[in-house]
Amino acid sequence: MSTGWPLWEVFVRARRGVNHVHFGSVHAADGETALQAARDLFTRRQEGVSMWVVKSTDVVASDPDDEGELFDPAEGKDYRFPTDYELPAEVDHM
């Protein structure tokens, strides 16, 4: 039987200096208990130093059908990459 509890997306910062990264999700009645559940579920081996939980329904995701329209235009623009510029060997480390 469903608990009716909302789903929460969990983000964990592994250590100082790096971003919070999506780890997975938990069901919980509120944000506070979601944090506790996420702590028990994802950080039993010191995986993190800081955690965020965000209600899954608050995440606005791109439509998979839009993938081409959104991301294909970046294709074939090799000039955005340093490898597209041939330079003499003496300065190629630039």
Partner: protein, 309 residues
Amino acid sequence: MIRNEDQFDAVIEADQRIESDDWMPEEYRKTLVRQIAQHAHSEIIGMQPEGAWITRAPSLRRKAILTAKVQDEAGHGLYLYGAAETLGVDRGDLLDLLHTKKQKYSSIFNYPTPTWADVGAIGWLVDGAAIMNQVPLCRCSYGPYGRAMVRICKEESFHQRQGFQIMLTLAQGTDAQHQMAQEALNRWWWPSIMMFGPPDTESVHNARNMAWGIKRYTNDELRQNFVDASVPQAEVLGLTVPDSDLVWNEERGHYDFGEPDWEEFARMVRGEGEMPAERIRTRLDAHNGGAWVREAAEAYAAKHEEIAA
């Protein structure tokens, strides 16, 4: 989590990173807000001297490259405003400080770009100097700033190479094109040298910012690195660096070089002359010209909220 000065000092001492929810000294916060904001302002003002050449770039490929580069500068500005906002300030307020000249941007963008070769020289020298400054900032003690810099440095690497390639094409071209490249080098060499800021003996916050891990190298150290890297590159181009004191010092293992015109630097930092006024005017025109778009977006969002309710 850091709750007091002792814990803050311990993290700095261990060369670890400070994050936005940590306690930090007020001066550390203020220094970072000012530095990150001025860095962000420099990125978006920096769109102007090169943006002016997009319509006049000599081929479709050069137009596409320059458009991509100017887009990158806009993106870098946004990464940095985002990093500044983690310190509890608002992007709109920072833009107001730029528009009212209460915060500065890099004075390098107060120099004009009269020829296509200036676009090449900016990529080679100005972006080269910026990379020299920015690579150590990836290890800045403030986490969100360091992470923004990692992304920026990664994207920036094509900027310098495309600039050098423009210079190379011109330098190997006709006599007139070669001359155009030399004149651009003459215009941009000293301003680029001055991008690293005043000499260490006159830099007010050097020691404290080094101790806090905001800075990793002094202005003079970075300047020396830049000269050592750029002189051999000028030789590959077959161009002459406009410094009669420039000579390889075997003993030091570095180039000795002349003293820039620090009075000119001071004038540029103060924003005197027509160019700084024009930069802010252009920025304000873009900002005010976009107001109707922001209003329309808000009206659209409000209408949809109404329908959903």
